[in-house]
Amino acid sequence: MPETAVADAATGVSPRELARRHGLTSSGRLLGPVEYSRQLWGYRHFIGAHARAKTASALGTTNLGTLWQVLTPAINALVYYIIFGVVIGTGGGMKNFIPYLCIGVFVFGFTQTTVSQGMNAITSNLGLIRALHFPRASLPLSVALVEIRNFITAMGVLVVIVLISGEPITLEWLLILPIMLLQMLFNMGMALGGARLGSKMRDIKQLIPFIMRFWMYGSAVLYPVTRFTDHLQGWKLHLVEANPMLVFIELYRHALMEDIQLAGSPRLLWTEAIIWAAVISVGGFLYFWRGEKGYGRG
């Protein structure tokens, strides 16, 4: 007979009681949100290294390598220019429609890829999750970081496009920095929330392309935002214009372009952007944190 089992039976202590007496903790214990974010901060180098590794391994097998980080947004812009600028002409006589369109496409693409990649952050790294201990939020955050890097490169391309189209450089361009910061926070929240959703309800992933396309058409990416004011009124208009992506896109356009018609006053747009960024980043973080101990099952 095992000695240990005899010893326990003799003292008559339940395992739970024994664990408590010696200060053992359950392996699946959930930390508080503050403690968790502190732990996450300790893993910032891992997040950075993981993001770098992902970019490297995604482009590592191509000949042009990191050159694709510049080429992809440039080609993207070219496609939209040909279809919407030259062939269809959705600008409807609006002057300087190309930079207007490109800003929308790039800014929306930033959130779109973050969300769709974030959905896979947990499910595509199950091997790592089942082998090592680290705060799981590192994975969606590393996804967000990869996309932030790509977006900064894309912004370089975008600035060139805007300058070629004849927009002057003004002090307002500096507003891009706070907008980017807000959108990054928003995206991190979306990636965190999406990661838990994607790991729990795998069917959702099949719907994401449709949801994102619907969202894009509702965010005045491919046509001037004034189309909404022309066709909608009252609460419907308010609802459409509270769309966070529309708000972000409008703020970028406001910063980069002269005399364009916005969806609302800049003050209103800024307030909405700040509220969206705060709500989604905190909400996404808390939602992800609640599920921390369940990742890696199944």
Binding site: D8, S27, G28, G127, H133
Partner: protein, 257 residues
């Protein structure tokens, strides 16, 4: 026996572990029509199947013990270790542990497209080391793994490694850290004789620092050499728990049948 002086480090209290497997679609269930029927009749069990891998395991492990886990393939040994490490949630019951147990396995996933060096960096950071610590240890880890014995393999992508080299590198990364409770999953069986000697020495070192060592292995010799206590798992439940020699004898008679 001085029972009151023994400090428990891992306690499993009637632990159950259930895998939920999504996408295990059987034959004749592949058409959209049958999927629709499943949704309508609410029998989603065809798509999600449950595997009850560990069924009510209880044991107490004490500081200074080395415990070998034996059992046939698929008996739940690795699953149990993962649960002790807190990497898999328990469905019922509980597992308590001192500090943060670390699992040292050959399956630790690394990124195949990255060079060995970058994988060392990533793995160490994931274990919670600081960047300066990582920088200081990288060379040591690569030397220990011996992947550079046939040229500069550390800077090549991991997909170019032989399976033995990959396993050696993974073991070396995981063994670079100190652990309270150390869980070793088949890691000693990897690599050639030379590497095995080196890794056994490393495990003894780690065991001296660690409180408790768990070892899963199919090599009875390894269990005999390193463990004084053994737990025999069969289809998810404990068949025997006690001194290595006794348990191994029982296991041998069972597997010869």
């Amino acid at each position: 026996m001085a029972d009151n002086e023994r400090v428990p480090t891992v306690i499993a209290d009637d632990a159950h572990i259930i895998y939920k497997i999504v996408g295990a679609i059987g034959t004749n269930q592949n058409s959209p029509l049958s999927a629709f029927k499943r949704v309508l009749t609410r029998t989603n069990s065809a798509n999600i199947r449950e595997v009850h891998a560990v069924k009510g395991v209880s044991f107490v492990a004490y500081r200074g013990e080395a415990i070998g886990l034996i059992g046939s393939n698929g008996s739940g040994k690795s699953t149990l270790l993962r649960a002790v490490a807190g990497l898999l949630p328990v469905a019922k019951g509980a597992i308590f542990a001192a500090g943060q147990p670390s699992l040292l396995g050959v399956n630790a996933a690394l990124m195949a497209d990255l060079s060995g060096e970058r994988n060392v960096e990533l793995g160490c950071l994931a274990m919670g080391m600081s960047p300066s610590e990582v920088k200081a240890r990288t060379k040591e880890i690569i030397d220990f793994s011996g992947i550079n014995e046939r040229g500069d393999f550390a800077s090549l992508p991991m997909r170019t490694y032989s399976s033995g080299m990959g396993a050696r590198l993974r073991f070396s990364i995981a063994a670079a850290k100190q652990h309270d409770v150390l869980l070793i999953d088949e890691a000693l069986a990897t690599g050639d004789a030379k590497f095995r000697r080196r890794s056994e020495a490393r495990v003894r070192e780690l065991r001296a620092q660690a409180g408790t060592v768990f070892l899963v292995s199919h090599s009875e010799q390894t269990i005999r050499d390193t463990c004084e206590r053994a737990i025999w798992l069969e289809s998810g439940s404990i068949r025997a728990d006690g001194p290595t020699e006794d348990v191994l004898k029982e296991y041998e008679t069972f597997s010869k049948k």
